[in-house]
């Protein structure tokens, strides 16, 4: 049975395009493999055409600094960075900063898609700078801070609101009934069930892509709801805590705000099926016969 059929009536729910219905989605693995093949083919085509190496990458980077006179009015700066095979958006930004303008500011750390600090708006889409190959993008490559977040400077946005929403779902294990001196048991199936939800790296891409979050500042948002899912579905927590968790997510600015637009799922750099998780929590909330609003 699909998620759509199980949902309670939602007056505001938009029509979901046929091909995006959850029952029709390929598994994350299938999608990943498909994407992989496509991107590889694309890279090979570009290499065959011989226009990958030696070219300069044209970056258009958003600039703003509340303190510096000529940056107080937001603008775009152009940088031309020598292309190297395998170069990512982050590599290009680092080159621009180190070679051309040391005041160019952005967060980054691990450059392997796990610290979650370099989510930017690249060519109109939320992406991690470190795992986005320049060769897959149209030029000029336009790099902006995450939309719907307050800009601190250049590509750096204020993450406090995002963190607050993450904290609002009580994102910590609350089991009281712990075995003495040994681990709790958890079935492989249950671990598999929560596995994708535990991969969140708090990059904020999903929140930034969500139209509902943009319009409703109190909406918990996909990342926080996914965090709630991670615990609510973990069989090691007791039933009462699960009910408590469902009560948190079915509050006024919780799961029912989601209009299944799938933008969060589309931009998630860790392939977390966020929309599906939100829908599943809706179902759980109904099953628990909790109050509607």
């Amino acid at each position: 049975m699909s998620a759509q059929q199980q949902e309670p009536e939602e007056p505001e729910t938009q029509e979901v395009p046929e091909d995006q219905e959850m029952s029709g989605l390929a598994s994350p693995q299938q999608e990943r493999l498909q994407r992989k093949q496509e991107s590889k083919a694309q890279r090979e085509r570009a290499a065959d055409e011989g226009d990958l190496d030696g070219d300069a990458v044209h970056l258009k980077v958003f600039r703003y600094d509340p303190e510096v006179a000529d940056k107080q009015e937001p603008r775009f700066d152009d940088f031309h960075v020598p292309f190297e095979r395998g170069m990512t958006v982050l590599d290009a930004l680092i080159y621009a900063r180190d070679e051309f303008d040391s005041s160019l500011t952005f967060r980054h750390s691990c450059r392997q898609a796990i610290c979650g600090s370099d989510a930017f708006f690249v060519n109109g889409r939320q992406r991690l700078g470190c795992k986005t190959q320049i060769s897959e993008l149209d030029q000029p490559v336009r790099v902006e801070p995450l939309p719907h977040q307050e800009v601190v400077k250049d590509l750096v946005v204020d993450m406090d609101h995002f963190y607050d929403q993450m904290h609002a779902v009580e994102p910590y294990f609350q089991s009281e009934d712990l075995p003495e001196g040994e681990e709790q048991r958890q079935s492989r199936e249950n671990r598999e069930k929560v596995k994708m939800s535990t991969r969140c790296i708090w990059c904020g891409a999903c929140m930034s892509s969500c139209n509902i979050a943009a319009g409703d500042n109190q909406y918990l948002g996909p990342a926080a709801i996914n965090k709630a899912y991670r615990f609510a579905m973990d069989e090691r927590e007791e039933e009462e805590i699960k009910e408590h968790r469902l009560r948190i997510v079915e509050q006024e600015h919780g799961v029912w705000r989601c209009q299944t637009q799938f933008s969060c799922t589309e931009v998630c750099p860790k392939d977390i099926p966020l929309t599906e998780h939100i829908q599943e929590l809706k179902r759980e909330a109904v099953k628990k016969n909790l109050k509607f609003w």
């Binding site: 395998g86 610290c115 681990e183 492989r188």
Partner: protein, 614 residues
């Protein structure tokens, strides 16, 4: 000024565990971190956590493997503490909800790792560090531990008695990255440094860009010796383009290394006939580079790591993350092609000298995690032993800093002129000779104008940092940090790498000295006080120069071949002379090198050095 009982610097695995430990011991605890805790480099750890949890295994075996893996340069009290505490601390993580991989019976899975006599590496897919980091951050949130995120700690507030062993630490000086504000953080009971790695001293590293050895450099300049800095682990499987780590878990699950002729060289060329691909990391790293140097590398640069034969199901179950990394950073599909790999700087075995309770020779100053050297890893760290170090010694440091009695430590700290032996190796390039302008370098404790009142010590430190920042910001031109940093990194990767020669190390020391001189002319171009990463990286670069110098110096004076430290001119492990730790003290800006004997006497047995046979 902010004030807490315990201030933990760094929000990664060790920092979070220290903060939770201190909090549980009743202390008002705060974490000050230059990132946000979930951005910390612990998140990049992949393989797993060693702990003797099962029948057939016990802590003594874990301790023995670790001592052997360290090439007998680990201290028995530290290693035994690690092995004894790890099972309980891993169970605690599970109780906190960490999503470990599971066996059919629901217990946590364990897998084999290099150098282990029992498959005792617990793991959560190939993203163990990510889950460890997030699980511990969740627990810090649960306890309401205060986190000052994006506050970069620039210096320690330490009294300046002439003898470092008499000094005390009263807090730290923080720089609010978002606003540029510089403030003191007073620690009533103690400061725990948990600032992590120093991999950015190298050009090709698995470490994040935040890993700039800040804790090591600050402690060193405050008077804490750095221990065994020459022992840098090079991980045999990092991706050639970026240095991104491919977990040892791939080889643990049965991944195979091939040269460009399709030969399984670990066996066929006899590098490790018993262990093959699962030999210690130093052995595999040297084998790979030997293949490349002898013309059997792929594209003259790397070798192939193949996991295709494991099958999609097993790969997806246990190593899925590796597929993503190979795909995103090399454009290789690990299910249908072998992955390119080469050795990359990965881990610093050495660091801030501490005892089993995380304490340094400076009263009130602690260190834990990769920035510290309790000496559990000695000459070479075993895979899966970094994460238990974080939780075991993070917890102990936090608790001890909060005033809990953990018993007397057996490991001594600090230099004692009557007992310790100094090195007789001459430094060909006088390191650190260049006079350092006080406004550019930190105020160095030298005993002049002693201040002992805690508030006054902190105020003085804050004032000095404000002056230093003003100086760097006001200067109109000069050299930029990126230029110096890049030069330093290239020299270290060229000459203080897997294979080391006397000539090469001396060349590196010369470059480090040049970097130190050039740093006198460094300036910050970005005029803004808002999120000034230019300023932050300039200060970090100073830290990198200091730690790089100790790494190169340590490598020069240790005239033997032990663990990860390979010297062309000295192809033997010399137990008669070298069962001792290399200690480097700041000594007013001119490093002095001395030694401390290794402690091989454990609780029950004395670990007798055995020949390493492969």
């Amino acid at each position: 000024m902010y004030e807490h009982d315990v201030i933990v610097v760094g929000g990664g695995g060790a920092g979070l565990r220290a903060a939770i430990g201190a909090h549980e011991a009743g202390a008002d605890t705060a974490i000050v971190t230059k990132l946000h805790p979930v951005r910390s480099h612990t998140g990049a750890a992949e393989g797993g956590i060693n702990a003797a949890l099962r029948e057939g295994d016990d802590w003594e075996l874990h301790a023995y493997d670790t001592m052997k893996g360290s090439d007998y340069l680990g201290d028995a009290p530290a290693i035994e503490t690690l092995a004894q505490d790890a099972p309980e601390d891993v169970i605690t993580l599970e109780h906190w909800g960490m999503p470990f991989s599971r066996e059919d019976d629901g217990r946590v899975s364990q897998r084999p790792f290099g150098g282990l006599s029992f498959p005792r590496t617990t793991y959560a897919g190939a993203e163990t560090g990510h889950h460890l980091l997030h699980t511990m951050y969740e627990q810090a949130v649960k306890r309401g531990i205060q986190v000052y995120d994006e506050w970069f700690v620039m210096n320690l507030a330490v009294t300046d008695e002439p003898d470092p062993n008499d000094r005390s630490c009263h807090g730290v000086v923080g720089y609010d990255v978002q606003t540029g504000k510089i403030e003191g953080f007073k620690a009533r009971d103690g400061v725990v440094l948990a600032t992590g790695p120093l991999g950015q001293a190298f050009d090709h590293t698995t470490n994040a860009v935040s890993c700039t050895g800040d804790g090591q450099a600050m402690a060193y300049r405050a008077g804490v010796p750095l221990e065994d800095m020459e022992f840098i682990q090079f991980h045999p499987t990092s991706l050639p383009s970026t240095g991104v780590l491919i977990s040892e878990g791939v080889r643990g699950e049965g991944g195979i290394l091939y040269n460009n002729e399709g030969e399984r060289f670990m066996f066929e060329y006899g590098y490790a006939n018993n262990d093959g691909e699962l030999a210690s990391r130093d052995v595999v790293s040297r084998a790979e580079l030997t293949e490349v140097n002898e013309g059997r590398g792929v594209n003259d640069e790397y070798v192939h790591l193949d996991m295709r034969h494991l099958g999609e199901e097993r790969i997806m179950d246990r190593l899925e993350n590796i597929l993503h990394l190979a795909e995103d950073f090399e454009g290789v599909d690990g299910l249908v092609e072998p992955m390119p790999v080469k050795p990359g700087q990965h881990y610093a075995m050495g660091g801030i000298e501490t005892d089993e309770n995380g304490q340094t020779n400076i009263d009130g100053l602690y260190a834990a995690g990769e920035c510290a050297c309790v000496s559990v890893h000695g000459g070479n760290r075993l895979g899966g032993n970094a994460l238990p170090e974080l939780i075991v010694f993070g917890k102990r440091a936090g608790r001890h800093a909060a005033g809990e009695d953990l018993g007397e430590a057996r490991i001594e700290t600090g230099y004692s002129p009557d007992v310790e032996e100094e090195t007789d190796v001459d430094f060909p390039v006088e390191p650190g000779e260049a006079g350092i302008e006080p406004a550019v370098g930190e105020p160095v404790a030298d005993g002049a104008g002693q201040v002992t009142d805690a508030d006054a010590v902190l105020e003085r430190a804050v004032e000095a940092e404000r002056e230093r920042v003003d100086y760097l910001m006001d200067k109109d031109d000069g050299v930029q940090h990126a230029e110096i940093r890049s030069k330093l990194q290239k020299a270290m990767t060229r000459d203080v790498n897997v294979f080391r020669t006397e000539e090469g190390i001396k060349r590196a020391l010369k470059v480090i000295r040049e970097c130190r001189e050039e740093y006198q002319d460094v300036y910050v171009d970005d005029p803004s006080r808002t999120f000034n990463t230019d300023l932050q990286m300039t200060v970090e670069t100073r830290n990198l120069i200091d730690v790089a110098e100790t790494i190169a110096l340590g490598a020069l004076v240790r005239e033997e071949f032990r663990g990860a430290h390979w010297r062309k001119e000295h192809q033997e492990r010399k137990d008669d002379e070298w069962l001792k730790h290399t200690m480097i003290s700041w000594n007013g800006g001119k490093p002095s090198v001395w030694y401390r004997p290794v402690i091989l006497e454990g609780e029950g047995e004395t670990y007798e050095p055995k020949v390493r046979s492969y």
